[in-house]
Chain length 211, copies 2
Amino acid sequence: MDLYFSPLAWSMATRIALYEAGAEAGYIYANTRTKRLPDGADFFAISPLGMVPVLRTDEGELLTENAAILQYVADRFPKAELVPADGIGRARLQQWLCFIGTELHKAVFIPLLDSKAPAEAKAYAAEKAPARLGYLDKYLTGREFLLDAFSVADAYLYTVLNWSRVTALDLTQWPALKAYLSKLHQRPSIAKAVGEEGALYAEQQARNKAA
Amino acid sequence: MDLYFSPLAWSMATRIALYEAGAEAGYIYANTRTKRLPDGADFFAISPLGMVPVLRTDEGELLTENAAILQYVADRFPKAELVPADGIGRARLQQWLCFIGTELHKAVFIPLLDSKAPAEAKAYAAEKAPARLGYLDKYLTGREFLLDAFSVADAYLYTVLNWSRVTALDLTQWPALKAYLSKLHQRPSIAKAVGEEGALYAEQQARNKAA
C-alpha cells in the first residue's frame, strides 16, 4: 500500500491512520505545485485533479478522496479499531468525515489557505467559520474524541484544524477545540506524523524559496 | 423514518434514494430561510447549522450530512441495491460521494448559488468548475452510472448538477455529463422527486415573493 502525500496536507490524516494501525506502507512525495513525482513522472496520471491524498492499494487500485481512503485503511486494519463496528456508529463516523470535508476543509480552510484566492473569497470563507467551529466546540466540550474512541475522523479533524495556525482564525475563542487539539498533538501517531511532515514541509519551503 | 428537506435542495438525493427503495418515510418541510418547521418549531433544534438534509431514524437518531444519510438509507434497504456490496466497490462509492460533496457541491455550487456570496467568491468558485466537470465528463463517457449500477452517488450527483440550470455553467461543453443527466431525468424515482419538489419550490418562491 502506498500513500501519495504532500507534507502537512490533508493526506497527513491517512499517515496518522496508517501509524495507528502499525501498517507497512510506502509514502510517495507528490509535488502538488509542479504536479511531479520524485521520479519526474506526471502526478496527473495518478490523481486526475492533481490532489493528495491518493492511496494505491496492495491490489493496485488507486483510491482518491479523504473519506474513502480513511475508511479503506480502517477496514483494512480492523484490529486498530479506527472506525466503530456497529451500524449507527459507522453512520456517525461518516457524518463527521463529511462535515469535516465539506464544512471545514472545503468551505473554510481551502479559500483561507489558497494564496490565489481573492480577498473577498477569503472573507466569504472566514464568515462561515464561527458557526461551524462554535458548533464543534460545543460538541467537543467534555469529550476527548468525536466518537466514543479515537477514529479516523479525529485524524482528519486534527489535520484540518492544525492549519488554523497559519490563518487569521483564533482558536482561543473555542476552548474545547483548543483542548482537543492539544491533547491529540500528544498522541504518538500524530506527534510522529507532524514531526516528520513538518520537517519535510520546511525543506519544501526552503527549496521553493531557493528556486 | 423522517427526512427534513427543502424543495430541490441537496436533501432531494435522499428522497430519490427512499423512492428507489420503496421506503415508507415522512417528509418534513424545513424552511431554511426562516429556520422554522411547519409547526413553528425551531429547525436549529434538529439541525445544528440549520441545514438540510436531516434524517430521523426509526430509533429517533438524528443524522446529518448527505454522504452519511445516503449510505444509511442504502444499508437500511439492502434489497434496493443502492450501494455496492463488496469492499472496493464501497470504497469507490465513498470516493464519489466525497468528490461530489467537496469538489462540486461545496467548492463550486454553494458559492455560485448563494445570493449573499460576493462576485469574487463566485468567480473563484466558477474557476474550479472546468477541471472538475471535465474530469467527470471524461469519466462518464461510455457509462450510464458512476459505478456499475445506479447508486446513491448518482442520486447525489444528479441533485447537484441539476442546479447548473440556474448558474452560468453551460453543460453543453460536457456532452457525456449532459447525456448522463438527461437519462437520469427519465428515471421514475428521479422524475417523481423532481416533479414533486419542483412544485413545492415554485410555491415557496411565490410565498417568498408575496412576503
